[in-house]
Amino acid sequence: MSAAGMNAGGSKAGSLIGKSMPRLEDKALLRGTARFIDDINLPGMLHVAFLRSGFAHARIERIDCAAARALPGVHAVLTLDDLKPLLTTPYLVVALPSPHFKLDLHRPALADGEVRHVGEPIAAVVADSRYIAEDALALIEVDYDPLPAVADCRAALQPGADLSHADQPHNLVAELRTEFGDIEQAFAKAAHISRADLWVHRGGGHSMECRGDVAIYDDVQDHLTLYSSTQAPHAAMQQLAKILGRPETGLRVITPDVGGGFGPKLIFYPEDVVVSCAALLLKRPVKWVEDRRENFIATTQERDQYWSMEIAVDDQARILGLRGEMLHDHGAYTARGLNVAYGSAHTVVMPYEVPAYDLNIKLAVTNKVPVTPVRGAGQPQGAFAMERLLDVVAQEMGLDRAEVRRRNLVRAEDMPRSKPIVTRGGIDVVLDSGDLPAAQADVLRAADWDGFKARQRAALAEGRYIGLGLANFVEATGRGPFEPATVRVDITGRISVMTGAAAMGQSTKSMLAQLVADQLGVSMQQIEAITGDTARIALGIGGFNSRQTVMAGSSAHLAAKAIREKMIKIVGHRFNAVEEELAVADGRVFVANDPERGMSFGEIAQAVAGLPGYVLPPGVSAGLEATEYFTQDAMAYTNGAAVAEVEVDVETGDVRVHRLILSHDCGQQINPMIVDGQLMGGIAHGLGNALFERMGFDDQAQPVTTNYGEYLLVGAGEMPEVSLLHRSSPTPLNPLGLKGVGEAGVIPTPAAIASAIEDALSPFGVRICQAPIAPQEILSLIEAARQNADANPAPLAAGMR
């Protein structure tokens, strides 16, 4: 570490890290001058509307677009046949590779003769306005031959089940097994075995901004630009290159301001292809902005899983082994891969010492919207499974729920703790750092866990049912291999940082600027952060898996550090000073005790910008620009614990969450304010998953919740008081010790709330085995428990623990 920065007047690198700095993004957003996808308006722009299947499964006998094409203002009506001349393949081949696939279920760009979920795009109208495009939709005639629809992933795998794809042999898209240790032995020697059958239901990402594309074709340059509200612009560009058969140099994907991602926007969609093709065909700018109804039926969703689990423990409630089956609803197509199921399987065993594990996972194809990650990506389900099981163990063994967990959590002194599993990319899973027992202790203390029993009894005496629930979690963050960043200082002294990372509302630009400013001793406002533009940096992976701060942040930090060192070297050479004598501040590098002797950033950039015939300073390469591909293969594991306090109205089934306490450890925080914001958003989402959000389908796989009156997002009135507690165990995996934080809040929250409801209802002996749980279901559970108690009075008495 150089002493340079510590001189008087100079900036100390590292001084900005860990400070709650105001964000660069805010001003434009607050004034309404930000530019989201739908804010892009270009001369001559045309507008697209999609005709979507109203059937969950049907053969298309005929599409007649003649009347729609004849409507004034309509420029084209496109079906798959119209696109085929432009495509190398009609299918979006996007699956992450895996040897476990049994079926290839690639999505067509537009329906290929059979539609497999309600909302699948069949045809696209391109018109002068969205209004006219929608008028034309009504004029397209489609003859459907309805086929039996598979609405339930359990039914999908029954013998003789209807087929989700008429041309496939069965509905089992993949089967995988995660196993280690001697599971037979674990169960053979168990002092106690507990069981649980669990269900976690489907919801959506529900970014407030829906998806959207604006495609612009420049036929002079034969170049296509796609503005897309995507979390992964480079991936979109690569997919476009493949499916359109165009060189990457003839393509540019730009992410404008994005109104939230939460997972579904990382996917490459049929609409992205169709809008691009429309621009190529019509040689006019073309815009499509998804409306909310489309968002409910065409944007990917997640979480449907059925778990059937057994846990073996010794007489001290120490875990010996876990085994079971999990059934995962894959939806109608492979829009991403097997990653969600993997994530769920791993999450189960991460926080605890589990000597043996055997989980068999089946992924079933259904006639529902494809499943891909939504904030949490399988991890909330895994946490739900494990935490519910541990509550059952505690209850059946008459132990305190926290104590059962304490005995099983991975201990701080055992870190790093390697787990006998590998990621879907084949990388060893090692819990790199953290103190899980301490995190649990933090939330217990804050919740007055020990004093709660008395409060609960007092409340019950007034007829109020309150309960406390606990859940631990580990979140896999910072998925590798890399996310590059380039830092550049130009000859005017302006600093920019460019990355493949995509900003979707999670403060990525501020994060990058803060890290660069920290190294270069300037204010964040002096840095232009450019995200999500494939023309600015060759490679990029994008925003998901709580990875960008870890990966792009580390790269930006290293690149800025390289620039700092290079500037010091150049100025040191010019003024014959050694590094220790130099300071970096106010956009200059100078001799600390003789500030006149120094150069501005612009002058330094000029010095290495190259003058014809003049030599560069010795030992210095050309240009004041550095690109880093910080590479981290292993994931950095964030951990924490949550306690929820609820009150249940046993006459209406209403659950009020009074308080939520979350402790978490994401290692070194760059901007604590932003960390808190991420956690709060995740908690709100988790609260939705616990109690409100339910993407319903009927038995013909018709969605029954397609507006915000039916699908309930948490509102301001539903949010409880939240306390956030922080620990910091920097990961050894990257230079700043960063771990991700974007999904932490959503992972333990449903499990903690379910646990709290169960606790509140302990006088009845009710078990909560699903998320979300609706008031009417709570009442039926209470009713069933009452009837059970009438038949057999013992459990009711035992219910009051």
């Binding site: 607050l30 407030m208 509302g505």
Partner: protein, 163 residues
């Protein structure tokens, strides 16, 4: 092509006259015709609140109004909240300070709704703030920072501090 009408109205203090299709929503008129794209569309069925504007000072969903219905009225959008190009409204300042926005998509509707609240009730309780924004969905923030920001702005406004 559906029928068109001439309308004249005031938008953020400026007089505006235009010919509009009668079926054009007020939100689309503001966004497309006037290029005031700060007003966002998050649902177009009246639930999310992202499109909230002030109609003669009162909050309203601009996705649930026709542009022709704004004829003769005064509209304020998020672009019209700040006193000038340099200064921001106390609510805007508080939103930044309290990190009451992340992606910022819901923010314009929050700000317009809360502008009305603080005008009608300069000293709201936290519960009243929650109630006021109960018709505004936000997926990013979990709302609590928005409540804090509103209380902070209310205090500043009561003290007469411009921000």
């Amino acid at each position: 092509m559906s029928e068109t009408r001439s309308i004249s109205l005031t938008v953020n203090g400026r007089a505006v006259a235009a010919d509009v299709e009668v079926r054009l929503t007020l939100a689309d008129f503001l966004r497309q015709n006037l290029r005031l794209t700060g007003t966002h569309l998050g649902c177009e069925h009246g639930v999310c609140g992202a499109c909230t504007i002030l109609l003669d000072g009162r909050s309203a969903r601009s996705c649930l109004m026709l542009a022709v219905q704004a004829n003769g009225h005064a509209i304020t959008t998020v672009e019209g909240l700040a006193p000038n190009a340099e200064q921001m409204h106390p609510l805007q300042i508080a939103f930044q300070e309290q990190h009451a926005l992340q992606c910022g998509f819901c923010t314009p509707g929050m700000l317009t709704t809360l502008t009305e609240l603080l005008r009608d009730n300069p000293d709201p309780s936290a519960a009243q703030v929650r109630e006021a924004i109960s018709g505004n969905l936000c997926r990013c923030t979990g709302y609590n920072s928005i409540v804090d920001a509103t209380l902070q702005a209310a205090k500043k406004l009561r003290e007469g501090v411009p921000g």
